[in-house]
């Protein structure tokens, strides 16, 4: 059990520098909940129920601007689709764990816990490290996320509009976007997605985002197919 505790601590410490991003991101989500026309308790509960910042932010924005339910549901889910990739990569390690662990541990899967775990795991990693390193990282990120979003909701109503804090939403998405365009096909997907989104601004209730995403994924796939040897 000592090893389990060590691994848990290691995971928690490894993500500590990343909290520099998690804390402001969580504060922004909380402040957005408090300053928009969204039920505060429901908005706050997205941290527990969804636990994925970009999706939470998109949902609050869509609900506040009057998007139809189908779009308000589809857009956050599309944003979270990237986690299917993480699930695929982690699956080769997680198959060593019990069924119960495999069922509940994915709840803690995030960009950060995925990146850190994959960087830590060796090709034939032992079960204790697989489970407890991941849980250390995941628990640290989860508790920080809940504290930061809660703090954001509490102070949110006091933030003056003149500070233009709504701009932080665009900045959060840019900060996630830049490292995601590491390859040329990914850059094509982003350029087409962004351009189509601008062209479909007049489409009703946020449906343009879905159309733009489909176009971007299509363009990226074609570019990938054309560029691959």
């Amino acid at each position: 059990m000592a090893l389990a505790g060590d691994r848990f601590k290691e995971g928690a410490l490894v993500v500590a520098p990343l909290l520099l991003g998690t804390v402001p991101f969580g504060l922004i989500v909380g402040v957005t909940v408090a300053s928009r026309d969204v039920d505060n308790l429901a908005g706050w509960a997205t941290s527990l129920i969804i636990f994925a910042g970009a999706a939470q932010l998109a949902l609050i924005d869509l609900v506040d601007t009057g998007a139809i339910a189908a779009v308000a549901i589809a857009t956050p889910l599309v944003i979270n689709l990237r986690m299917a990739m993480y699930s695929a990569a982690l699956a080769t390690h997680f198959r060593k764990l019990s069924v119960v662990d495999r069922l509940w541990m994915p709840y803690l899967l995030t960009d950060q816990s995925f990146v850190m775990s994959m960087a830590r795991y060796r090709p034939d990693e032992d079960r204790v490290t697989i489970k407890w390193f991941y849980l250390g990282a995941g628990t640290m990120l989860w508790s920080t996320w809940l504290l930061a979003t809660t703090a954001g909701v509490v102070v949110g109503a006091e933030v003056p509009a003149a500070w233009s804090l709504d701009f932080t939403i665009a900045l959060v998405f840019l900060a996630l976007l830049v490292p995601a365009v590491a390859t040329r096909p990914a850059l094509v997907a982003a350029l087409v997605g962004g351009a189509v989104a601008v062209m479909s601004l007049d489409m009703p209730n946020g449906t343009g985002i879905i159309v733009a995403t489909v176009a971007g994924v299509g363009a990226g796939s074609i570019a990938d197919w054309r560029l691959s040897p």
Partner: protein, 104 residues
């Protein structure tokens, strides 16, 4: 539809996405026709959300130096590229917007 129901559906859907391949044990490899397009979802959807916020902050396209959010956004992209970290990127973008707002 109530907001709570929407949140629960998204929460459940997100959980199922996270569970997906871990749930099916990784016994079956991920087919290429699923894995390849998945790689482009993140760049496409993130750009689809972020770009209109910069290019058309008021709802209509405004490309030029008088669109302060576009200028601040470009500075933030440069910061994100250099620093690869969310906190400093947000600070760079917000400070740029405030300074530009104060100057012009």
């Amino acid at each position: 539809m109530s907001l709570w129901l929407i949140i629960v559906i998204i929460g459940l859907g997100t959980y199922l996405i996270r569970l997906s391949f871990i749930g099916i044990l990784g016994k079956v490899g991920v087919p290429g026709y699923i894995e390849r397009p998945l790689r482009f979802v993140a760049p496409a959807v993130l750009a689809a959300i972020a770009v209109p916020e910069l290019v058309a902050p008021e709802g209509t396209v405004a490309i030029g130096f008088d669109n302060l959010r576009l200028v601040a956004g470009i500075i933030a992209v440069a910061a994100a590229w250099k620093l690869r970290s969310m906190g400093p990127t947000i600070v760079a973008g917000m400070v740029s917007l405030w300074v530009l707002d104060w100057l012009f």
